[in-house]
Symmetry: C3
Subunit: 266 residues, 3 copies
């Protein structure tokens, strides 16, 4: 499985090509996700004006849409960017932050999925469940459900829209064409840093830019994110240092780090 | 007084309940205040679209409004959120960043106080003074006045609107129903990190979510913020490491840290 | 040259006067640039509402305009702020982030230069070249060109608009009235932290607030930024710690650090 996933080749390819990853994301995490992409070796771009969507998407190797702090103007740009990316065959990653918390978020996320047919949808369990069922209410933007509870929702989304669905949690579940991949990397303290889920989505964009198989790209991102978190946690005294050391870990990551730490399966 | 303030019980309650704190705050500090809330144990939500204000407020245990980077659309959402919070009895914290620097900020802050009747108003001395008197001009967003100079303004605000007023400075003054609490925790280097005042306001929201007495909640937030700053300063080489270590300190904070470090009174 | 540049006097003056530097900048870097200004000793203000532009500019000793995340409303405020700053003789610094990536950015940057006549324009090579020639396409917001390639574009800009032009790269080139200054401070890892170019522009604002000669101010900012990066790199394990330690270095910077580390010339 490790070889099948071929993570190290993707990491090297990101470092070699520095793919431009265009993010339309939320205000809270912009700095962190840009830094995570740079630390890994990608070239982040953040732009949200409808006036420059066509040109910015045309420069990009992947598009990441994150609905964490929505407004009407940003939603218009998200749809415009998605349309341009679809036309050009640029992979789209969607992070439905807070789906289930408000109707505005749930319906925007659903419309984006319907229009953009993202190659990867990455969210926590409550968000993924909310995309499929009106009865789900997340607790703000944090999940009120275990990742495994969202498996059937993920399968429904995959069947309906073709998207690979990555459910983050203590174990990450990646649901797609080839079935299910379970990633058991990560550290509990990661839940105390804002936007590490958003960072995982940004990394999905970087991996999707170099790896055409979306399940592999999503799994590579989940593994690299989890391993960077574990490496950081070894030196961290709390979530402040953890956030900083995750960037260092993404930058320093070696093949040996990946091979010795990867934990897949149930 | 320490027992009366009952800080440790509130910290434990925040860690146990992880109250959702909804912030409509400025772009500069969003990441830091979200991280401070998470490090302490609360569950931050940032949302500013009018379309989702009612639902987001309904999920929340406290609402923090911070006027640090205003625009017309955000002001509309602040008023909408305040109205929903008032109806539901959800405590509101207001941070009048830069009141006194421009008429736009001063008048927005005053209108919000008049409408929202915040349970806590937290600002620096110049800001608090500007809320009461047209002659006060802050130096941008940094205070040009010592905290003690704002005491009578704080008392006027409390009398007119019922709000507890927390004036940050070398000594923090909390003015409310029970009179005056003086908090002498903190470290001078904290003035060289952007948005630690905003972080103190965010913590007011977390404490107000679990402690119904606004004076106590404001004092608890001021003490925890000051002590976290002191703990961080012991390991910091400058404001960069200080900011990071404050998050670690909020996460690691023990009853003993609180009891051994708390400094109240004149 | 070191004495001519007189950096230490400017650093001391910034620390003594804490000049208010008003930034209208992008969402990604706001926190970092505010922190860099505070660490150095300046007093940052971020405000973007047209309603408060006149008053905020009037409070300020320098105005920094950064087009990293544009939208129509922000562009209007940038022009309004520039107009007020011009009337009051307040120095303007422009950072044309992503000029060349999209027409929207290129034309906004050109119009701002034409209107505002910035005392300093600071960008990477691709951005500076794009301001002069329609054939240049940057790779997103990262430069696809070496700094030296942009020298003739910088000279054209200087001749046409009177601006000092600072081209960031492995060697920074500052082109202005007195010819050319080359600054060779810095560290390669700095390219892996988002927004350090934006931070360099913010520092240009702080130095321009205390040093009337724009070439000197731009060189002082480039040297201080580069030296802070070198000092930080000595303790950093990756771009996460680097970003944090740059703030510490700006705060701790001594005359001896400057004198022992400064590297000018070819």
């Amino acid at each position: 499985m490790t070889n099948l996933l071929n993570i190290w080749a993707s990491v090297q390819e990101i470092r070699r090509r520095a793919p431009v990853v265009h993010s339309i994301t939320n205000y809270v995490v912009m700095n962190n996700t840009a830094n995570a992409l740079l630390a890994l070796g990608a070239s982040p771009v953040m732009a949200h004006a409808e006036e420059e969507m066509a040109e910015m998407v045309a420069l990009s190797a992947a598009l990441v849409i994150n609905i964490g702090t929505l407004s009407a103007a940003w939603i218009r740009s998200m749809f415009a960017a998605a349309e341009h990316a679809c036309k050009r065959g640029i992979p789209i990653v969607l992070d439905p932050v807070g789906a289930g918390a408000t109707t505005y978020r749930t319906s925007t996320a659903r419309d984006l999925i319907d229009t953009a047919r993202p190659c990867i949808i990455r969210g926590n369990a409550s968000e993924i469940m909310a995309l499929c069922s009106d009865g789900i209410r997340s607790k703000g933007v944090d999940s009120a459900n275990a990742a495994s509870e969202a498996l059937s929702a993920a399968q429904s989304l995959h069947q309906a829209f073709g998207s690979t669905v990555s459910i983050s949690g203590e174990t990450d579940y990646i649901v797609g064409e080839a079935g299910l991949i379970q990633v058991r990397n990560g550290h509990p303290m990661m839940t105390r840093v804002t936007g590490l889920g958003c960072t995982a989505s940004a990394l999905c964009g970087a991996f999707a830019a170099v790896e055409p198989d979306p399940m592999r790209a999503a799994a590579q991102a989940a593994i690299v994110m989890g391993i960077a978190g574990e490496m950081a946690a070894e030196g961290a005294r709390g979530p402040g240092t953890l956030q900083v050391l995750i960037l260092d870990a993404l930058y320093c990551l070696t093949q040996q780090d990946l091979e010795s730490r990867i934990r897949l399966g149930s």
